[in-house]
């Protein structure tokens, strides 16, 4: 029993196949509370698919994903979010036709149902919370700006903000610094370091310097399978990892 409660997320035997092609194959790993787990691996290793499976975007063929002892594989996407799992996509997905304020407001965790959304009011609590988050993500001066006019980096931050406002226990980020300028990258690292403190995070990232900075443990994926798992130093020294990255 004690062992069960040690982990926030338990992924066991996770498998998905697309017309016979196994994009993720019998994958198991465990994430502890307040841990920052980084998934690395070459292109096509199935990293994004793993996140898709956990958050319900892709239906698994086999296996189990337990979050706080709830089986996520049987739940709908929005139910998974309500359970406390947040997901950021690789390409920034914000609502371009809405303002930054409205973008954050939609993610505000209240009024999820149709009638709840109709009855939802912008009260002071909502406004204060949105302003607080906007400050965290460096967008406090752009609240009335249409999201379409933000820079690529600012859109990424906005999407991170949209997740933060929901205060998820598990946050999954897919390449949060990809395509950013050096300055933006630095600011993002700072932002991530701040937000990963009181929650568990799973990050997909290619930037090794960045990974070393934030990772508690690292999973190396290759062809849908776990190649190596452990601390950054451990996987760096793993001959199998070296073979995949430098071989051929």
């Amino acid at each position: 029993m004690g062992l069960h409660e040690r982990y926030l997320l338990k992924v066991e035997g996770l498998t998905v196949s697309f017309d016979g092609f196994k994009a993720v194959n019998d994958l198991s790993f465990y994430v502890e509370p307040n841990e920052c787990r980084v998934i690395i691996g070459p292109n096509g290793a199935g990293k994004t698919t793993v996140l898709d499976l956990i958050c319900g975007r892709t239906k698994a063929t086999d296996g189990s994903v337990k979050f706080k002892n709830q089986e996520l594989l049987q739940m709908r996407e929005d139910q998974i979010v309500h359970a406390g799992v947040g997901r950021k996509f690789q390409t920034p997905s914000v609502y371009e036709d809405l303002s930054v304020f409205e973008n954050l407001e939609i993610s505000y965790p209240k009024g999820y149902g149709v009638f709840g959304a109709l009855a939802f009011r912008r009260d002071d609590t909502v406004q204060a919370r949105i302003e607080e988050i906007a400050e965290t993500i460096f967008l406090e001066d752009l609240l009335t700006e249409k999201a379409a006019y933000l820079s690529h980096g600012q859109k990424q931050w906005l999407e991170i903000g949209m997740l933060l406002i929901q205060d998820p226990e598990l946050l999954m980020l897919d390449e949060p610094v990809a395509g950013m300028s050096v300055a933006e990258r630095k600011k993002t690292a700072e932002l991530l370091n701040r937000i990963i403190k009181d929650r568990s995070v799973i990050v997909i990232e290619h930037d090794m310097g960045f990974v070393e900075d934030i990772a508690t443990r690292v999973n190396v994926l290759h062809q849908g399978k776990m190649l190596s798992e452990g601390s950054m130093a451990h996987v760096k020294a793993d001959p199998k990892v070296i073979e995949v990255y430098l071989g051929h």
Partner: protein, 381 residues
């Protein structure tokens, strides 16, 4: 920094509503004779559908090519009541079965079908005007949106429903009046709806209902639900992974559009005096989309102007150059997609408003800062 907190209107939107109200309640009744006023009343019944489409399609990105189904269902519910009232045993004494609608008698029916019986009651008929279209929309919506069918697939399937219902109505002549529809409607609880006064009263009833619908639509657009719709149209997955059950929002807005269309259909029956499958099928359904598109997709007020203008143009053209009308309508479809994707509302906010603002500023002699228009403002005027 200020946000329009929870107010239903911005100042601009309020002016827009007042102007439209002035046109519909004062200007049109003042300048039009009774015949034309009734005609405009008919156009306004299409505006109900167009407003619903502005929510479904403009905001939510759900294009339904089957709104005629809901318009027709609402209209038929009303027509069934009126027909039963018109078919008293005295009025129909020459029939082989007196007391049933004439077309049933012609088709050798000897008894009122069981599903016609409740329509003896006006209350039930009025409830059915909304409930029947909404139930249909609910069934279609649940089946499609739960399975994540959207976009062009949804459009094609709703179009198929328009085809199915038309064929069904025409084929089941004995129950529905067939291709002629339900005609020869006379009184509503003894009140003759064919007189000039009645038509004038009905015009105003229709106008009031339309404004009721517009207020509901405005409330929805201004609520968080309205913003979620726009968000869904742009980034459906993001909305889903922000914790919303996307399908239920789509179902809701589709049903709301169906309810609007049903009310419009019922008012059509009352003002025009008949309901027929020609208002249900593929062609009228897609024409209803163009009313909304001409007004400017997102704009609920624009939808009303679109319905008025297109129909007025249709009547004027068909009177003088019938062969030109289809060219005109076809061209309109193409132009509104290629040249004016934001329709009349777009022309207003992009071309006319800035000029007025400039003129205003010049006259005031001061360089007043132009307020940044937010999305919602662009949308609603």
């Amino acid at each position: 920094m200020t946000f329009s907190k929870n107010s239903l209107f911005t100042r601009q939107e309020l002016i827009g509503f007042i102007v439209l109200a002035a046109i519909i309640f004062l200007l049109l009744p003042a300048v039009l004779d009774n015949f034309r006023l009734n005609l405009f009343g008919k156009y306004l019944t299409y505006a109900f559908v167009a407003v619903g489409l502005a929510l479904c399609w403009g905001a939510g990105g759900i294009l339904s090519l089957g709104q005629g189904v809901f318009f027709g269902l609402g209209g038929y519910c009303m027509a069934m009541f009126l027909k039963l009232e018109a078919s008293t045993p005295e009025n129909t004494s020459i029939q082989s079965t007196p007391g049933i609608p004439d077309f049933m008698d012609w088709n050798q029916l000897t008894e009122l079908p069981f599903w016609w019986v409740p329509f003896h009651s006006l209350t039930i008929a009025l409830i059915a005007v909304v409930i029947v279209p909404v139930t249909f929309a609910l069934i279609i919506g649940v089946a499609m949106f739960r399975r994540r069918v959207g976009g062009v697939y949804f459009a094609i399937i709703t179009q198929a429903f328009a085809a199915i219902l038309t064929i069904l109505i025409i084929g089941q002549q004995g129950f529905t009046g067939g291709v002629n529809g339900i005609t020869d409607l006379r009184t509503l609880k003894g009140w003759d709806i064919r007189t000039d006064e009645a038509k004038e009263v009905l015009y105003f009833v229709n106008a009031f209902l339309l404004f009721g619908v517009l207020l509901i639509a405005q409330f929805v657009r201004k609520s968080k639900l309205g913003r979620i719709l726009i968000a869904m149209r742009d980034q459906e997955d993001r909305v889903r992974f922000s914790g919303y059950d996307v399908a239920s929002f789509k179902i809701f807005i589709f049903c709301l559009g169906a309810a609007f269309a049903g009310i419009g259909g019922a008012m059509f029956t009352l003002q025009v005096g008949f309901m027929s499958p020609t208002l249900v099928g593929i062609v009228p359904s897609i024409e209803m989309v163009i009313f909304c598109a001409v007004g400017g997709r997102l704009s609920i007020l624009g939808a009303v102007y679109g319905a008025l203008l297109v129909n007025w143009a249709k009547t004027s053209f068909s009177e003088s150059f019938p062969e030109l009308w289809l060219f005109g309508l076809g061209g309109l479809f193409i132009a509104v997609v290629m040249l004016f994707p934001n329709g009349l509302a777009g022309i207003w906010t992009e071309q006319i408003m800035p000029r007025i603002t400039k003129l205003w500023a010049a006259r005031a002699g001061a360089v007043a800062p132009i307020p940044a228009t937010s999305t919602e403002e662009e949308g609603a005027i």
